[in-house]
């Protein structure tokens, strides 16, 4: 994934400026930054949900703006709160998503439901779900297409301890066995530290990168914020 010179400015002055970022196949990259730093904007631009003012995004060598459908085919994403057609069950929701991809079977749907711990609730309406269960569904909807790149924006929001452990285990297993790339934004710094091998700090709309090392991530983050404030 290659982002070149990406800028997106909102009328309130917030946004991201001139971002260059390259993420390689199989990496798990954590995006960190304070509220309003532009993490969600970056992920929305990266997945084509928002058009950047300037700059370019290439996924698997394909320009997302000129060839959206082909570029986004191998991407699964959960950006913002999990959304679903709430009058339907998670199974039907996933079935609807699966129609847009080729080669996804009912067995794949069952497997994703199992991975996210939703099998006992597969026929219940999503409107009856708690926030954490909806979040689990959001993760299931990102996994269902067997993507090569998974973008997760605050995936741990609303998850209970079981959900958190299950998510961590799922990400680690998928990454280990399928070489899938993950881009994860979160405020849970310790969670990211356990999962990611590279970090992207997004502060005041600008990025700086950090490879996982011996120094605690929290210390690195505090130092980066202090430098940015100065």
């Amino acid at each position: 994934m290659v982002i070149t010179g990406m800028t997106k400015q909102f009328s309130n002055g917030r946004g991201i400026q001139n971002i260059d970022l390259t993420i390689y196949q199989g990496e798990i990259v954590g995006i960190l930054g304070p509220n309003g730093a532009g993490k969600t904007t970056l992920l929305k631009c990266l997945t084509g949900l928002t058009s950047p003012d300037r700059g370019k995004v290439e996924l698997f060598g394909i320009d997302i703006q000129s060839n959206y459908k082909e570029a986004i085919g191998p991407v699964g994403a959960l950006i913002g709160p999990a959304v679903a057609y709430e009058k339907m069950s998670p199974y039907i929701n996933l079935k609807m998503i699966s129609r847009l991809y080729s080669g996804i079977t009912d067995t794949d749907i069952d497997m994703v439901l199992q991975q996210t711990g939703l099998t006992p609730f597969k026929d219940e309406k999503i409107s009856s779900f708690s926030m954490g269960m909806k979040q689990r569904f959001g993760i299931a909807s990102a996994l269902i297409s067997k993507p090569r790149l998974i973008v997760l924006d605050e995936p741990t929001n609303g998850l209970d301890i079981d959900g958190l452990l299950l998510l961590r285990k799922t990400i680690q297993e998928i990454s280990k066995h399928s070489g899938v790339t993950f881009v994860i934004s979160s405020h849970h710094i310790s969670e990211l530290e356990k999962l990611c091998n590279r970090f992207c700090f997004l502060i005041n709309g600008e990025v700086s990168l950090y490879e996982a090392g011996n120094e605690p991530l929290e210390d690195v983050y505090v130092r980066k914020v202090e430098v940015a404030v100065r």
Binding site: K44, L49, K69, P81, M88, M96, R99, L100, Y101
Partner: protein, 245 residues
């Protein structure tokens, strides 16, 4: 599965899950049956003298001028404004915006055709069962009337979708559409010259097809319907494409 086909199927499934769609489908069957029952067996004895076709076309008028427009407004509001509110309108899926927009319009239009055909079937069966004056020779003209009625309905769908994209609130969208539709129905009484410029005027164009239809009229009306559809569809897509998740 082809993306257009797959997403049209998805959009239809979403609409069919809604209680209001089920209610419309139920009324499509019940209204003709109950009307025929009332006309023939209860208190409207004088109506029995009416040719059965007149009652059938009165039922068609009821659907194409009131019930189907109402269904279109609800469906367009739900698939566009409502999904915008709920955050389900744009998701990270391998489907282009034009395909997403098109499939939503197709889904509403296909369900309208289904409602029309279901109504025709209900009318025909209830006519055969209840009407003393039922004549099998009336079937070709009635099926033709129901099918041609679909074309102005597609134009109204594009119009409703365009309106749905101008607002961010479902309540505002549905109430705005109803008020505008009522305005379009009544404005010709005040400004007769506006009659032929309004898409609502052509909803009952099947009546023209039943009488002696001139080639000139066909060209004029079809051109108007096609250009109106192109205009509403293009503006609607322009608005849709500008939206951000």
């Amino acid at each position: 599965m082809n993306t257009i086909k797959a997403n049209t199927f998805n959009e239809i499934q979403k609409l069919l899950t809604k209680k209001v769609t089920k209610l419309f489908l139920l009324s499509t069957i019940l209204v003709p049956v109950l009307t025929k029952l009332l006309v023939n067996h209860l208190f409207l004895i004088d109506w029995v003298a009416l040719p059965t076709e007149n009652i059938n076309f009165t039922l068609l008028d009821l659907f194409i001028t009131i019930l189907i427009p109402l269904f279109i407004f609800i469906a367009a509001t739900d698939l566009f404004t409502g999904e915008g509110e709920r955050g389900t309108l744009f998701q990270v899926r391998p489907i282009r915006r034009i395909e997403l927009f098109l499939t939503k319009v197709i889904a509403i239009s296909v369900l309208c055709l289904f409602i029309l055909l279901l109504e025709w079937l209900a009318v025909m069966i209830s006519s055969a069962v209840f009407d003393k004056a039922f004549d099998i020779a009336d079937i070709p003209s009635s099926v033709g009337a129901f099918i041609v009625s679909w074309f102005p309905i597609i134009v109204l769908t594009a119009f409703a979708v365009m309106l749905a994209l101008f607002v961010h609130s479902s309540v505002l969208a549905i109430s705005g559409m109803i008020v505008l539709y009522l305005f379009m129905m009544f404005i010709p009484y005040v400004l007769p010259g506006s009659l032929y410029l309004l898409p609502s005027t052509y909803l009952d164009w099947y009546m023209q097809w039943l009488s002696d239809v001139s080639f000139r009229w066909i060209i004029q009306t079809v051109t108007y319907l096609c250009s109106s559809f192109a205009l509403f569809f293009s503006i609607g897509y322009y608005m849709f494409n500008r939206k951000e998740a």
